[in-house]
Amino acid sequence: MIGLLEYEFFRNALLAGILASAACGIVGTYVVVRKMSFISGGISHAAFGGIGLGYFLGFDPILGAILFSLVSALTIGMISRRNLRSMDTLIGVLWATGMAIGILLIAWTPGYAPDLFSYLFGNILLVPARDLLLMGGLLVLIAGSVILWYNEFQAITFDDEYATIENLPVGLLHLYLLSLVALTVVMLIRVVGVILVIALLTIPGAVSRLSTSRLHTMMVGAIVIGMLVTLAGIGLSYAINAPSGATIILVAAMVYGAAMVRDRVRFRARG
């Protein structure tokens, strides 16, 4: 398998996996502690509408995904400040509407959409070099933001009410954090596709959380777990000639299952 590294497509795939894992370890930690996985699912499916728009108007679908995921994240963020009761419904509506827009626009696009399947389910072996550049840029933005506003993000995700009475800019920080979730979702679309994003965003964080009690160590753990899972998934998918996105998710799910079982056993042993 070492011989594979001579191929550019395989080196690109590994690099894309590493970049995406780093972003999802950082942002996924917030998604897990703040229980935002349904929100993340909504954002990633809504992004499909942007992919369709890219096809229809003839620009890079990933740019459309950025646009739609950001707009849906900001919509969710602004409405959640007003009325908590209808949040669940709203996310479900955004989720399905985004998908529907994408499907319609692709149907109206003349000709055949060759890599449509890879946007839905991911195909990391097809990541072009220019996408790596975009992913690298997004990772710098995400990591930089979290380093600069670490204390603020911790405050609003632990107890946003207290942050409000401290007169921190809770609304803005919340929207910014959701935007980082949206950008991470875009990075993950290349790796596992819009449908499978939630799993990769939450599993590394959830596993890491079992063995840490600090937010930043949870992030580091999630990054490492995400990279191992992604690289193992890529290698395995190549070895057994299976779709890469689905393989990565199944590897992640197995790691999650094993971690939960181990945690249960440890918990019982402690009494």
């Binding site: 506003w149 009410e161 207290y162 942050a163 409000t164 401290e166 007169n167 600090r214």
Partner: protein, 254 residues
Amino acid sequence: MAPIVEMKGVWVRLGGRSVLEDVNFSLEQDDFYGVIGPNGGGKTTLIKVILGLIKPWKGEVTVQGENPEKNRHLLGYVPQYRTYDFTYPLTVREMVLSGRLGLVPGPFRKYRGEDHEKARAAMEMMGIGDLSDRPIGELSGGQQQRAIIARALVSQPIALLLDEPTTHVDPQMEEEFYEILRSLHKRMAILLVTHDMTAVSAYVDKIACLNRRLFTHGSKEISEDMLEAVYHCPISLIAHGVPHRVLRSHEEEP
């Protein structure tokens, strides 16, 4: 001196239901004020209105003579225990420090030496100085409650607002807990809302009853009329051992 908190004719409606009706209330500089009332009587709402988290439908609320939003950072808030997610990966020190985040200059807030010092002092005052590196999830209920109070103290507030603070304090620790509040009272005003009125009555200087309407009495005597107006079921309360007048003996009064 203007009162720290003043409410004039405050009405609050939530979801079409009135939660507070024509509430007039003021918290003075040296008050140790207890507000009792049944669950659902609007106790949490009262505190949230003072903090500007809930806007009144009618009436006026001021903190130090200004809008709550402007001056709420002067208040220390101890929310109800059950509102927390104690599985959040956070140490006691980090939690207490977060009470100073609003005082740290932005846009990228990093804790300074003085913030760490104030946090250490607050943790020591609450008797959790040796727990500062422990995850909040590993603490007992009483220790978690102390951490929440330490976070409220770390910004050196002029008043402390506590919402049902003894829910998770062991009965044998309760007395010690109220002694801590009594010592804090030397430095700041205290407003305590609770449904547990036997415990409160021995420590507070003023008492009011809240069940949508606020019944104040000026002193800490609770009359049978007030209880009846608030609870509508004085007999069951008396059956549970609540005396008609809940008072510390007069000899202890200054």
